[in-house]
Subunit: 189 residues, 2 copies
């Protein structure tokens, strides 16, 4: 199982790396969409500002003002559209992947740590047990040590089950985690 474990671990390491890169890119797309909303908002405001400039020589300016105002309206609508898309992207594209990273991937690394500690404890107990002097008068101590070995083994076994289980579940969650943001992105188009 040790080598199968290392395959699982490598896989989950790869997935974490890929997830981080993908998340960065998704956040870049979201950032661009969000900036698009802000830029069009500024443009819409600026077009309305033309009127406030109060050009003294307003020959034909009424036409310009009216036209710019109707442009400002169109740009304002585009702005709502862009901002709406940005919000949708945040909710249904970036957020699920962040959650996957924070919840599933972080869980894996926590469980890995717990499993490592349990393994160390179990090994330490075994070393202590093996170093006991082989004299008869140590029977009581020996029995205590055996209990400790058994206890730490149980603990390690439990931690390993949780860890393997999470690694295995990750394989299934991965698929959803990879596809969900893209579905969200497609919806936001």
């Amino acid at each position: 199982t040790r080598s199968l474990l290392s395959v699982f671990e490598e896989d989950s390491g790869n997935l974490t790396e890929y997830t981080n890169q993908l998340l960065q890119t998704l956040q870049r797309v979201f950032g661009a969409q969000s900036e698009m909303g802000l830029a069009t908002e500024q443009l819409s405001r600026q077009l309305l500002d033309y009127e406030k400039k109060n050009f003294a020589l307003g020959k034909g300016d009424e036409e310009v003002i009216t036209t710019l105002q109707s442009f400002a309206k169109t740009v304002g609508e585009l702005n709502s559209l862009h901002s709406g898309l940005a919000n949708q992207m945040a909710d249904s594209m970036v957020f699920p992947l962040i959650q996957f990273r924070e919840k599933d991937l972080t869980e894996i690394s926590t469980l890995k740590e717990i499993f490592g500690i349990a393994t160390d404890e179990h090994e330490a107990a075994m070393v202590k047990y093996s170093r006991l002097p082989k004299k008869k008068e140590n029977e009581k101590l020996k029995a205590d040590m055996m209990k400790e070995v058994a206890y730490t083994r149980r603990k390690q076994h439990q931690a390993s089950l949780q860890y393997y289980c999470a690694l295995n579940a990750l394989q299934y969650r991965k698929r959803v985690a990879m596809l969900e943001p893209m579905l969200g992105y497609t919806q936001a188009q």
Copy 2:
């Protein structure tokens, strides 16, 4: 005419200021659109990278890979679209206003400068003429100075005509200059 001139000048100053602000905003919109293209390009590449990760535990990965590839294709098409829009914005929205600023507004300020120099020269000539001693033996010098006054007045008159003419023309070009980028923007949507 002096006070009418100052109205024209104030107007053109206002217009320059407004043009600079508008240009900044248009460039911001263009920048956002351009970033949108770059971000989607990166996303499309990243989706294809999933396959190259070569996850050892490829249970169900073929499906994920195929789906991500088809997403990558869609995102790639969006990328071309965004990049195309960005190019169109550069050509038909930002460029016309840059040209207006570089050509029309710069011409005004150049002509204003020339007009100012010509005015100074004419005034200097008049001052010199008025300070001539009123003696008869200075008739020759006086005639020369009168010629200079007449010459600088002609020059100043010419410069003023060009300057006024450009200020006046600006009033007409202004309308096109303000509306053209917005037409370009609307086309790019």
